[in-house]
């Protein structure tokens, strides 16, 4: 099919964050099936991840993450079971993965003096990509999460997107 100018884009705003007034909402991440949206909002002066069901906007509580603000770089798995993000604990940045099925918070300690900048969780939960900065240079590192997490797979497998072993 010819690819110019013929597509129509259905669009909407992500809707209210329940905070009242015009507030910043940043760094969105959708679950693979589109049911959940994570984004960052200011709460009590601290950047906090907000997890909402779509399209209702209903907020899902994340009590395990409350102590670790500011939050950065949220990323969701296929069905929204896992929420990975960067948090702060005692002045150190840390990657964590919240398992919403069990309530467990996995902390991923990283050695060295490298600063964590961003992360991306593979939708199936098998891998995590980290952007690390050291000596002014950024680079990526991949981690195998299969010893840690059960996979979170789509209800209907997609062609070409098969899981990796």
């Amino acid at each position: 099919m010819p690819a110019c100018g013929s597509w129509s884009w259905g669009r909407r705003s992500a809707g209210p964050s329940g905070l009242g007034g015009p507030t910043n909402r940043e760094d969105p991440a959708l679950s693979g099936n589109g049911r959940y949206l994570a984004s960052l909002v200011e709460r009590g002066g601290r950047r906090t991840v907000l997890l909402q069901e779509q399209p209702s906007g209903r907020e899902l509580p994340l009590p395990e993450l409350r102590r670790f603000q500011p939050h950065r770089s949220p990323s969701l798995s296929w069905n929204g079971r896992y929420l990975a993000l960067l948090v702060q604990q005692g002045g150190r940045h840390l990657a964590v993965i919240q398992d919403r099925a069990t309530g467990r918070l996995h902390r991923l300690p990283l050695g060295g003096d490298r600063e964590l900048e961003r992360l991306s969780l593979a939708p199936d939960g098998r891998r995590l990509a980290l952007e690390l900065v050291s000596q002014g240079r950024s680079r990526l590192e991949l981690l195998d999460l299969t010893p840690l997490l059960e996979p979170d797979l789509p209800a209907t497998p997609l062609s070409g997107g098969g899981p990796l072993r």
């Binding site: 259905g10 507030t23 909402r25 969105p28 593979a122 199936d124 590192e141 010893p147 070409g160 990796l164």
Partner: protein, 165 residues
């Protein structure tokens, strides 16, 4: 007899003491050395996005950055004809699990734009911000049907959800 009972008690105690400790330490995620050294060879790299067997990133040498799509199974980048331009500065990228669609925010000719690239068609389609705004970070749903983009409007960051036809 007594000695055997004592041995059994000692063994039982050992199990009781070590099992919870092992539970605390837990299984740890492992780095993927083969892939990580491949990524190191790209030079500086940032803005990772994982989906299926794909890793999208912004990387390059000597300050010349490009969008790259790495097939993690074959551990090789795949060509993206028509996506990168020498006069464009990529800002953020995201890929779907099929490796077919990439959403990209880039700075080109004095403006910042969101574009959708379809690999099968080698076609690039701009997505206008409505109401007008400046896009920054973008996240494509793993099934490729919708994207979430952070948009600055009147000094406030908002999140737009856009269906991908």
């Amino acid at each position: 007899m007594n000695r055997r009972h004592a041995a059994v008690r000692t063994a039982a105690l050992t199990v009781v003491l070590t099992v919870p400790l092992a539970g605390c330490l837990g299984p740890m995620p492992q780095p993927l050395p083969g892939l990580n050294s491949r990524l190191e060879a790209i030079g500086s790299s940032r803005s990772p996005a994982l989906a299926g067997r794909w890793l999208a990133l912004i990387g390059g040498r000597d300050g010349r950055e490009q969008v790259q799509l790495v097939d993690l199974e074959r551990q090789l980048p795949v060509p993206l004809p028509g996506l990168n331009r020498p006069d464009a500065q990529p800002i953020a990228v995201s890929v779907d699990a099929a490796g077919e669609r990439l959403a990209l925010v880039r700075h080109l000719e004095g403006r910042t734009e969101l574009v959708l690239y379809r690999r099968g068609l080698m076609a690039l389609e701009p997505i206008a911000m409505q109401p007008p705004g400046v896009p920054r970070r973008v996240n494509l749903r793993a099934d490729g049907r919708e994207l979430a983009v952070e948009v600055s409007r009147g000094g406030v960051w908002q999140v737009d959800l856009i269906q991908v036809p």
